[in-house]
Symmetry: C2
Subunit: 288 residues, 2 copies
């Protein structure tokens, strides 16, 4: 039996608010007064802007030029100051570094940060409180912040729980890293799941290596089908990066693997609803 | 403060399952064995088909030819036998009557039925259990089954609670009836809210007359804006008929009426997510 646990928060529209809020409110007053800075393809950006706004401090958000419009709108809605970068991870990091030098704002990495992990880990607490019978969790993977937090918290409650990652084939650095036994960074990525284009960090990699049983990779077409299912049956708006866990569970890779036959109670983390209507419509038509 | 209470059930995709389930499981074995029949523009149809399937009896669903595709698909999904009619209420009633004569199936009216009202009334129980501070409920109105059930149940818990109906301007028979003090049926209706084209029945009218404080009518453009807000901010897929309560609360009619200034804790019933993606896209573009 598969459980659909919707762990998204309407405010900011994704799980990222959990980590961002924990990070911002962990700062001492002196550090906080300088504000916070980050680079993000979108949901962490809006989440950090909102967390900073709630604490009454400035936030500087480095946003790649190819980020979805609705995610940029979210940053603006929450009062974040946008600083543009190129799409590459390198450019994002350089621009964020420059902002830090100029303002002294505290850098809050979107995932490679213990405070972020702890925040995301609260998802496990809620899942296992609501459905303690769950024996398997399937979680999207990008930089690894979400799944690391979830794995650490879930395993501390139930060491036998099985954790699987869901990753797009067009950005499968985690699957490659797992196979190679070391962090692999890709020279380029190509997937509809704009929130899953980041690479594992040195903080998240050991958790993924040791606590995540396997990485299930899926095609973009499978992600679109899962998005459509969420829309039509669950009546929930989910962005590609949020629907990938469902896509993974529905895939032959997962369904036909004899080693996973005894995954009886599967919790899927479905989070992130920041999808442009135009993009959704376009992808649904492609998915036909 | 406005509370968004999402009272939709993912199974069948609308509140209608509550009433349909109550009606089908209230039948004695002899009556049930002949099956059930109804006419409906959509959500009651799917709900009755599902309820009948769960009890293991046949269902005959009279569906107007202009019903949205996704609603027809839902009826088929749950094993309902579709019988086509013209779009008019008269044609629907005639065809349903014919099915009853041929099969002996018990007619379950989509709203003019005490068993249906009782089922829909369970929404009030849930709302007031989750948020007892609510002093105002805003509920879509069509045939009046939903709002009658909700009003009767809510007033039995809190006699001071205020009940408002939300109705499309292009199908404002309830507003006209309320003004005239008797049931008014329109010769035609014109609204995007396909679930709100029915007219009050003799069973629901007295409840609407006596327990509903006022009918707030809104334009289709306001409904579309509310749908968009649900989609973009709440991340919930809502059909026009489901979003109308939110549209009513956001309207100047409601916001600027001094008599309603003391509605402090407003519960909006948002139910019905059976919207074709193509229709949603189309209406969002129109709403720009």
């Amino acid at each position: 039996m598969t459980h659909f646990l919707l762990s998204s928060v309407p405010i900011s529209g994704a799980f990222k608010f959990r980590g961002a809020c924990n990070a911002v409110f962990s700062l001492n007053q002196e550090d906080a007064s300088k504000g916070v800075v980050t680079h993000s393809s979108g949901n962490h950006a809006a989440a950090l802007a909102l967390a900073a706004k709630l604490r009454g401090i400035p936030s500087y958000i480095v946003v790649p030029k190819n980020a979805p419009t609705c995610k940029i709108e979210n940053v603006k809605r929450y009062g974040g100051q946008i600083v543009w970068s190129e799409a590459s991870v390198q450019s994002r990091e350089e621009v964020a570094n420059k902002v830090w030098q100029e303002t002294g704002a505290i850098f809050i990495h979107p995932y490679n940060d213990g405070r972020i992990l702890s925040g995301q880990g609260t998802i496990s607490l809620e899942i296992l409180e609501q459905a303690p019978q769950i024996d398997t969790l399937v979680v999207p993977i990008s930089g690894g912040g979400l799944i690391s937090g979830i794995a650490l918290a879930a395993k501390s409650i139930n060491p036998a729980i099985r954790i699987f990652a869901a990753e797009p084939k067009g950005a499968d650095d985690a699957a490659q890293s797992k196979a190679a036994g070391r962090i692999i960074r890709l020279s380029e990525t190509n997937t509809i799941a704009d929130g899953l284009r980041a690479f594992l960090g040195d903080f998240t990699w050991p958790v993924v290596r040791d606590l995540v049983e396997d990485i299930i990779t899926v095609e973009d077409s499978e992600i679109i089908k899962a998005m459509k299912l969420c829309f039509e049956i669950l009546k929930v708006v989910v962005e590609p990066s949020g629907a990938i866990g469902l896509a993974a569970v529905l895939s032959d890779t997962f369904q036909k693997n004899p080693a996973w036959k005894d995954c009886n109670h599967i919790g899927i983390v479905v989070s992130g609803g920041n999808v442009d209507m135009a993009m959704l419509w376009d992808s649904f038509n492609k998915g036909k």
